[in-house]
């Protein structure tokens, strides 16, 4: 866990020095109380020379009098307090500076790792979990460094400083004081051990409550449709009741702990004060030492109360840093070869040779898939959900590496190429449209932030997005995403298509990405894409036969294998998945399809069919 500190060695060293200096100044400032009090005591017992309040100043400044001694010691005290104050400020400042610098490097590291770690990592964890790790877990580690580590140092320094001085002034009294420390320590430990299961139970109860809440909201249609609102309320109430009980258990524990710990502190202090008073009375100790004793014990006991907090923070930080390192230590799923070359220019011919792949060992998603697509063709991948269509496209972009077999783009094995050049060559429109909270223009120009507006507009036009963009209040500068304009599913898909168009790829992958777009627009988008993708390759992943039928080649993927391949007409003649689905899918989109587009597209496809080279 402490390896987090390595990049901030300098900051840590400076902070440590400031801590030592600050504690030394604190002890010194408190110890300087002693001479002042000694003078007061001297005056109180001697009652030697009464002064009138009017001559206080003269009394304080006449050399070689008790008044002067008091004055001098007060000035020293003042200087010490000012220095101490400056150090306290420096301590707060350094502690934040050091911990924030550490957080900076940690966050940078995790951010970059998350960007490059490969998608298999993302399949294991929900995005919520990952965000939590990078934010909450990191906060826990920082919390430990600030509260835990720095407080520990503080405690040790305080103990050494004050106790050393106590021992020096009065070993007997220091001995008595030391007696209370084990009692104190074990009480805190007792409560820490006792509270852990209570906290864990609280966390579990809270998770249960949140899960009920989440599911109730996510499944709101079901709740309403079956009129189970009352039932849901009852369930939620029961879960809240449990949580409340656990919270009250925690409150009860704290209710016991706080007075116990403070009681011990108070009892110790008063005992020592009483003892000290007796010592003073016997003349073994002077009042100044007694006051210093009081102050010192107070400081030591206050600091020791933090042990509880530290052990809590430590427990949390250990768990958090483990989870954090799980991300940082995760190796690249698709490492780039040391001698990787950029992809040579080409038209986007793709060849899969005997490819095997599974997200988890033992669960094959892709089994022995081979096919070859010449540059410039339109390929449709069809098949039931979960059959492996999307996985094939992910393998092509090297989001994952196959277990066996090889994939080539324009005759080059993608594992011999730089990742950047492979991904530059492929434009993706994903199944789930993801747009960033940014302007329309910057979302479209995501792959090339310096793209001129004319190119952005051209891409939008091809994606049939220009019309609705022009109707947005801010047009191309309109913010979208969480805090911006809300777009319909079809509009979002069109922006994603524009983004891929601007990327200017030699291979375009459309993963079920026209589902929310009405048929007329779809036809227009297809026409536009066709023009710009002339001589390049398009992969069309779809479950709609009506979309697939326009492709040059259709690959039917079932259970990770290619079950059928051919053109629409060929596949309809063969008995199999394609025909049965084609017959069951009375696709809605046909309902308002203008004849001209359908026929034009359909005719064109037919004329270009039959170029799939079977292996």
């Amino acid at each position: 866990m402490f390896s987090f500190m390595l990049p901030v060695k300098f900051e840590v060293a400076v902070t440590a020095l400031v801590f030592v200096a600050c504690n030394a100044a604190e002890v010194a400032a408190d110890y300087l109380l002693k001479p002042a009090v000694d003078v007061v005591q001297h005056l109180a017992f001697e009652r030697s020379s009464p002064v009138s309040p009017e001559s206080v100043w003269a009394w304080l400044t006449t050399p070689d009098t008790p008044g002067h001694a008091l004055f001098i010691s007060l000035i020293w005290l003042l200087v010490a307090r000012v220095i101490f104050g400056i150090f306290v400020w420096a301590k707060t400042y350094c502690s934040t500076w050091q911990s924030m610098s550490m957080v900076y490097y940690m966050r940078e590291a995790v951010y970059d790792r998350l960007q490059r770690v490969g998608f298999s990592f993302y399949d294991q964890y929900s995005t919520g979990q990952l965000i939590n790790r990078a934010l909450t877990d990191l906060q826990n580690v920082r919390q430990f460094v600030v509260v835990g580590l720095q407080s520990s140092i503080d405690i040790v320094l305080t103990l050494i400083g004050y106790f050393g001085l106590l021992l020096y002034r009065s070993p007997t009294l220091a001995g008595y004081a030391a007696l209370s420390l084990p009692i104190w320590f074990f009480t805190i430990r007792y409560f820490a051990i006792k509270s852990r299961p209570v906290y864990e139970a609280q966390m579990a109860a809270s998770d249960g409550m949140i899960q009920l809440l989440t599911e109730n909201i996510a499944g709101v249609h079901v709740v309403r449709a079956f009129a189970t609102e009352e039932l849901e309320k009852k369930k939620f109430k029961a879960s809240c009741e449990t949580l409340l009980q656990k919270l009250l258990d925690g409150a009860r524990l704290q209710q016991q702990m706080t007075p116990a710990i403070r009681g011990i502190a108070t009892a110790t202090n008063i005992m020592l004060f009483g003892l000290g008073a007796i010592f003073v009375q016997r003349g073994v100790l002077n009042l100044g030492d007694l006051v210093f004793f009081g102050v010192a014990m107070n400081k030591i006991l206050t600091r020791l109360q933090q042990i509880n907090v530290i052990s809590d923070a430590y427990q949390k930080a250990v768990v958090s840093s483990d989870r954090f390192f799980e991300i940082l230590d995760c190796p690249d799923a698709t490492p780039q070869a040391p001698d990787a070359m950029p992809l040579r220019p080409g038209g986007g011919a793709v060849k899969f040779s005997r490819v095997f792949f599974g997200y988890e060992p033992g669960k094959q998603v892709i089994e022995d898939i081979s096919f070859s697509v010449p540059a410039g063709s339109i390929v449709a991948l069809v098949g039931p959900t979960g059959s492996g269509k999307t996985t094939l496209s992910a393998l092509l972009a090297r989001f994952y590496d196959p277990e066996l077999g090889s994939i080539q783009i324009d005759g080059q094995d993608i594992r011999d190429l730089t990742l950047q050049s492979v991904r530059d060559a492929i434009g993706f429109v994903f199944q789930e449209t993801y747009l960033f909270s940014d302007t329309v223009a910057r979302n479209i120009a995501y792959s090339d932030k310096d793209a001129p507006l004319s190119r952005i507009k051209e891409a939008a036009r091809i994606a049939q997005a220009d019309e609705f963009i022009d109707k947005l209040p801010g047009k191309y500068d309109q913010m979208i995403g969480e805090y911006g304009a809300t777009l319909s599913g079809g509009q979002r898909q069109r922006l994603a298509i524009a983004r891929a168009v601007l990327h200017n790829p030699r291979i375009l992958v459309l993963d079920d990405s026209l589902s929310a777009i009405d048929p007329e627009t779809e036809a227009q988008i297809r026409a536009g894409l066709e023009k710009i993708m002339k001589g390049r390759t398009v992969f069309l992943i779809t479950s709609r036969i009506s979309s697939a039928k326009r492709a040059d080649h259709i690959l039917v993927v079932e259970d990770g294998k290619i079950a059928q391949r051919g053109t629409h007409d060929e596949l309809l003649r063969a008995d199999g998945y394609y025909r049965s689905v084609a017959r069951s899918q009375f696709a809605e989109e046909g309902a308002s399809h203008p004849e001209s587009h359908m026929d034009r597209l359909h005719g064109r496809r037919r004329s270009r069919s039959g170029r799939l080279i079977e292996q």
């Binding site: 109730n216 008073a277 079932e558």
Partner: protein, 590 residues
Amino acid sequence: MATYQDDDNEYSPINAKMILRLMSWLKPYRWLYVLGALSGVVSILLELITPEFMRRIADEALPNRDPGEIIRLSLYWGGAMLLSLLFDAIQVGATRRCGEKVINDFRLAIFAQLQRLSMSFYDRTKLGRIITRGTSDMDALREPVVSGVNTVAFSALMMVGAAAMIYHTDWRLFLAIAWLAPVMTYCNHIYREKIGAQYQIARAGYSSVAANLAENVVGVRVVNAFNRQDENLEKFNELQVQNTRNNVEVANISGIYQPFLEFIKFIGQVIILAYGGALVMSGKLTAGQVIKVFFYWDFYMRPTINMGNFYNVLMAAMASCERIFGLIDLIPDLVDRPGAKPLPRITGHVVFDHVTFGYNADRPVLHDLSLEIPAGKTYALVGATGSGKSSTVSLLARFYEFQNGRILVDGQDIRDATVESLHKQMGLVLQSNYLFTGTILDNIRYARPDSSDEDVYAAAKSLGLHETFVSLADGYHTTVGERGSSVSLGLRQLICFTRVLVANPSIFLLDEATSSIDTVTEMKVQTALEKLVQGRTTIIVAHRLSTIVKADCIVVLEHGKIIEKGTHSELVAAKGHYANLYERFVAQTS
């Protein structure tokens, strides 16, 4: 109609009206709360008398050189302190109990409100935002509710008490340090303003770091596909640098303030010791009295130092409070009409009578739609995306309020019936096929939790699905839902169908899944569906030809209007839109 402000203000100014409203939630627990408040007062009063024992030790016991007296006074002192701690513990316990109970009440109120709010609320509001109301907003409220008012009141009591005691002990010493109080109040004011503003800046900065990170994680596929890693990291680090700077600035301000207060305290101590010493010298005061004032000064300063950051906690709580009350005050757009009656058991005769509806009133999705569905019949809705099929189903389920026309069930306007009684007789399966975390058994009897295992088995058997469920790894006890995501789409749909059969509604609404499932499961779905529609009015948003052909009536929708209606053979014979569609479909698929 109330609009729901879904902003994410981190801090809000302290608002007395809001605090009063918050306090009104304490009403059910007022006696416990009063007990806590009284214990707190007793605890403070006990603490306030302890310096007197110190004075007596210094003034009486020490000069008399009487160890017995010292021990006796120390014991009194310790006794008072321990009693004070005890009362403090009672105070903390009582207020905390009240606080947790109030928070619990809030949670239940929010949940109850969520059950009342209409679908349009859920369309507008993100899931994460709603959940925040029940989680982190509650946490933000906890501290002020649990200890807020008390912290302020007790601090004030402590300060007034300590000041009074100083005055009572010696008015000259009182005057000598009294001027520090206004100085401190003024500095406190400046500090609060500065740190408050800086905290807000820091929070906002952190939010953008978090938002950027979250966006990148969620959109990681896009990031990778478009090679944006380096630029993104650069942008992220810019945000981080700003975040670090903001936090260091907060540390800078709070780092100055704390030692400043300590310094003020010290100045007071010096004045007390120096001037007090002089007064002792002149015989106007005893050493014990000076010690006593010294301790009261400490009592006075302690709450001041602790209060510094409480202000921020309070501002954060105010923001949460605003959001929570905003949600609770929201009036659902769709509530039972006054005098709405529960529907009797219906046969399922459905009439849409000139219904016009738009999610946004200016842009109607359904135009003057009229449709009669006799009880027990199956109607298939066919049309392009956005033609109004799903809206038709949603309106019958009364998820939205329509602008014009009537919808009748068994001759009764659904708006005159209670929503609950309508829903009780209605079964719904959506494309998402939502399942709750739990076993298959739990999910099937979701609507009828009192039904026995045998009822569930019987339902599954009658749909021909019993074997399918039994053959799973844990049979009916297989866990499904969010955590059991390995359940295939087809199986989810089969579970949903069985769930509807157990609920046994008179009207069944189905939004058929568009994505294709494997052939074997597809067969099961079709067989189960055929059995499920028997004897109940069924409306299907249909995508599959097999479903459409079997329907008693096919309704073709275009742009929110019915353009054709009839059985498959009627429509094909009519040579209209549907026939055209079908012909082309046949031509392409054979």
